[in-house]
């Protein structure tokens, strides 16, 4: 099955990537994607720039494992995961998760599963630059809860 995982400093164009997803596969009746953009939550001084640090090697390995877990749960015809590292500005796409399946239920579930696990298991760290200095972004409790939901639901899906 086709599929790709990319960790890159270059910007990407979600439109171009989605156009290539499961292209030519007439059996892929459902495409679902999640695009994450660099956010300024407004809680501190305005975010001027975001820098993403990662663990080269482990990051790709962790993303590969997450995609394999999704493929074991749902019948997916194509999967694309792209994550940027390095410096970027608010509003820029930082992550793309896109999946193709025969029907929408599997595509919606698998897309959400992959981004939920990515947020708690893939070694990336965000550092914000503001007019008042730099700060490491803290992990959110809600992300851990979202990921745990998939452990609870494991028995409801085909493993």
């Amino acid at each position: 099955m086709a599929g790709c995982i990319r960790v890159q400093t270059e910007a990407f164009d979600p439109g171009v990537e989605l156009d290539a997803l499961a292209r030519g596969d007439a059996g892929a009746g459902a495409l679902v994607s999640f695009i994450g953009r660099v956010r300024d939550d407004g809680a501190h001084a305005p975010v001027l720039r975001l820098t993403l640090e990662h663990y080269p090697g482990m990051t790709e390995k962790a993303l590969g494992a997450i995609v394999e877990q999704a493929r074991a749960r749902w019948e997916l015809r194509d999967v694309v995961v792209i994550h940027r590292v390095g410096a970027m500005e608010p509003g820029e796409p930082i992550v793309l998760v896109a999946v193709a399946s025969a029907h929408r239920a599997a595509a919606f579930a698998a897309c959400e599963f992959i981004i939920d696990r990515l947020k708690t298991r893939a070694p990336f760290w965000k550092r914000e630059r503001t007019s008042q200095g730099d700060r490491w972004v803290e992990a959110r409790a809600g992300d851990a809860q979202a990921a745990e939901r998939w452990e609870r639901d494991a028995g409801l899906h085909r493993e």
């Binding site: 663990y55 090697g57 962790a62 994550h83 947020k119 893939a122 070694p123 990336f124 760290w125 992990a139």
Partner: protein, 83 residues
């Protein structure tokens, strides 16, 4: 020899991103290595103690009971914040 890596906030706090050292005698688990590193001084004790932290052995997340062997790559880092 083992390779020990530090990322993000932990890298800044301990003042290095990577080091190689001989696996200390009597150290067979992640938890034992962490205790040995924290004993280096106040800066290390604060960086590797207290706040939530993850450890990976050979690029796979590990519990503190995880076994260590010569040649392993051990990484210390804060909870991840990608996506």
């Amino acid at each position: 020899m083992i390779r020990v890596l530090y990322f993000a906030r932990l890298r800044e706090e301990v003042g290095t991103g990577e080091e190689s050292l001989a696996l200390p005698a009597g150290v067979h688990t992640v938890g034992a290595l962490t205790a040995r590193l924290r004993a280096r001084g106040e800066r290390w004790d604060e960086a590797l103690g207290g706040r939530p932290m993850l450890v990976a052995v050979n690029q796979t997340l590990s519990a503190s009971e995880g076994a260590l062997a010569d040649g392993d790559e051990i990484a210390y880092f804060p909870p991840v914040t990608g996506g």
